[in-house]
Symmetry: C2
Subunit: 360 residues, 2 copies
């Protein structure tokens, strides 16, 4: 019989949970799907109620005059740009130069230039210090190749990442070893934690914190927990990540940083001269598409540009179907559409593949 018990749980053994210190549950299999919470880096913790996270913004009744966003990642870019367009003075700080989901330096730099046209953006901020002063926060940092500057903002938004909600669970009591980040080892195809009857799904496992992946993981973890010990791998989809900024950012298939250097070609297209993008007055963007030098298989892409969410679906589908660039070029592309930009990048990649073959 199914039962539902609400409360905070912690493990007391390999097959035992204690709920709110009053109810003990023995289980044959369990799914951990406790989600994640935003983290606030040590630098910002002294700012009290002047440091906020993304969820807090949706409680606002009025807009502040100014904010600093720490973390030009997915959440930081989406919220920071939205606030800037609503008239808030936004300054964005990052560490190490990263922008959104990108690992391809050319695409990342294009994105950095694009967003820097809307608000001050320091993806690799140096010598950052923050200090509360009344209802403001003073932020001092060293401008690239220049002096220090100090800005005052009403709020600091910490968009520096999220951490799985695992601390209260006492996983070690269930015999699970945790790594330096406090995370268990698990198999992403079965969601099983080591050889235990525990399965971990969604943001809680810190793998790909995306809704559509979490839905797959929840189903796989639930089925495996229910039929434990007959654990079976579930079907995972090709990677697909989208940032709903303007222009949008996306990655599909294997990202640049995860490719084997020297074993792939890069097909490129700029959306600055792409027909449909120009007609829409949205001709800003760059797509880099990677193909295996030996087989011609489409490996993945990183892109910023109009309709990136749609192009990324096409690329992720082609990737999961293990299509070659040549196969994709045989599929229909209408006119005039942004998909023709993707075709230009595919043709560029195919020309390079043909040259390699001719030279071999």
């Amino acid at each position: 019989a199914a039962a539902r018990i609400s409360g905070y749980a912690r493990f007391t053994g390999p097959d035992r949970l204690l709920i709110d210190e009053h109810t003990e549950v023995e289980f044959g299999g369990a799914v951990i799907a406790t989600g994640s919470s935003p983290t606030i880096p040590p630098l910002l913790r002294a700012l009290g109620e002047r440091v906020i996270v993304n969820d807090d913004i949706f409680e606002w009744n009025d807009l502040p005059r100014s904010v600093a966003v720490f973390g030009p990642g997915i959440i930081g870019l989406e919220l920071g740009q939205a606030l800037a367009r609503l008239g808030v003075r936004v300054t964005m700080f990052g560490v190490g130069g990263g922008i959104g989901p990108f690992t391809d330096p050319a695409v990342r730099d294009y994105a950095a230039r694009t967003f820097a046209g809307e608000f001050p953006l320091y993806p690799d901020a140096r010598d950052v210090a923050v200090q509360r002063e009344g209802d403001s926060v003073l932020i001092t940092h060293r401008i690239p190749r220049g002096e220090h500057e100090t800005i005052a903002v009403d709020y600091v938004i910490a968009a520096t990442g999220r951490a799985p909600n695992l601390r209260g669970l006492d996983l070690p009591a269930a015999g699970v070893a945790l790594d330096a980040r406090g995370l268990p080892k698990f198999d992403r195809h079965t969601l099983q934690i080591e050889q235990t009857p525990l399965f971990i799904a969604g943001d809680a496992n810190a793998d790909v914190p995306l809704l559509h992946e979490a839905a797959d993981e929840g189903r796989i973890a639930g089925e495996n927990a229910a039929r434990f010990p007959r654990v079976q791998p579930g079907v995972r989809r090709s990677p697909l990540g989208i940032v709903f900024s303007d222009p949008q950012l996306a990655t599909a298939g294997t990202r640049f940083a995860d490719l084997v250097p020297g074993r792939f070609v890069t097909g490129r297209v700029s959306f600055e001269d792409q027909g449909r993008s120009r007609v829409m007055l949205r001709n800003r963007g760059l797509l880099h598409l990677y193909a295996d030098s030996a087989t011609g298989r489409l490996l993945g892409a990183e892109l910023i540009g109009p309709g990136a969410e749609h192009l990324a679906h096409l690329i992720a589908w082609a990737h999961q179907l293990e299509l070659k660039v040549r196969d994709v070029l045989a599929l229909p592309f209408y006119h005039p559409v942004v998909e023709e930009g993707l075709r230009t990048a595919l043709r560029d990649a195919q020309a390079q593949l043909d040259s390699l073959k001719a030279a071999a």
Copy 2:
């Protein structure tokens, strides 16, 4: 050696052309790519300069106060809606109830209701009479289930179709038989006209008058003409048609009217309650997707809705790759995107396929 001769050509034999009555050319193979011209139906011919075609509109320096559009097809809908949104009083008339590219009655009716919310639209106009009066045109017709009404408009736009530019070519002189519409028989994979050294590409063959198809046809026809008589079939792409109205209309793969009755299931989704479409305030639309009852293969779709151009690419690609509905459901769909609407229709189709299988 390549040569280029400009002029009007007509055939004088199976391998002979006369250019502008001065230069005779003998050929081993020839490509006919003479395009098409808008046709003006007899009903409208007496209206003189008050009846215009789509190209004429782009010469306008001012907008008229009112127009009647004859033909709620692709061009009629795109231009008629654009003019209506620019403030022109638009009334649209059709014959037989057709709307855009649709053959599925439910999708067609949804589209008719949608456009009728912006301007008077009579897809199956009855007892239509037109009459020039000064600088106006008077149009009388019988309102559905009602009286006759007469409207006065500044211009009538004939968007009733285009005809291949073949008349001046004298194809019979080349030994080519023409059908009742004045068109030759040809093979759409080789573009060859019967067994002749003539190949016909693009709008001139009246097959699929779309730019991306014409580009394929031109290449296939050119290659075959150059290597005649070694004629080879070229690769044709899955059908894909898009109307750039708002919402957009699209067809992909096999259209409803071309399916074998009783051998398919229809997966449906309304965009009125689709998450992303609601967020964008563009939640109007309907997608019907067809799958083979026996094999589960995705056969095609007809759709009206937000981002239809992008969904139609995904569907046409899946169609050409001969994917089953189940295969497509294994591919990634992000959140929140309009592609999730497509997934809902796929799930609806799969549920019906599963029911059929369970009942068998």
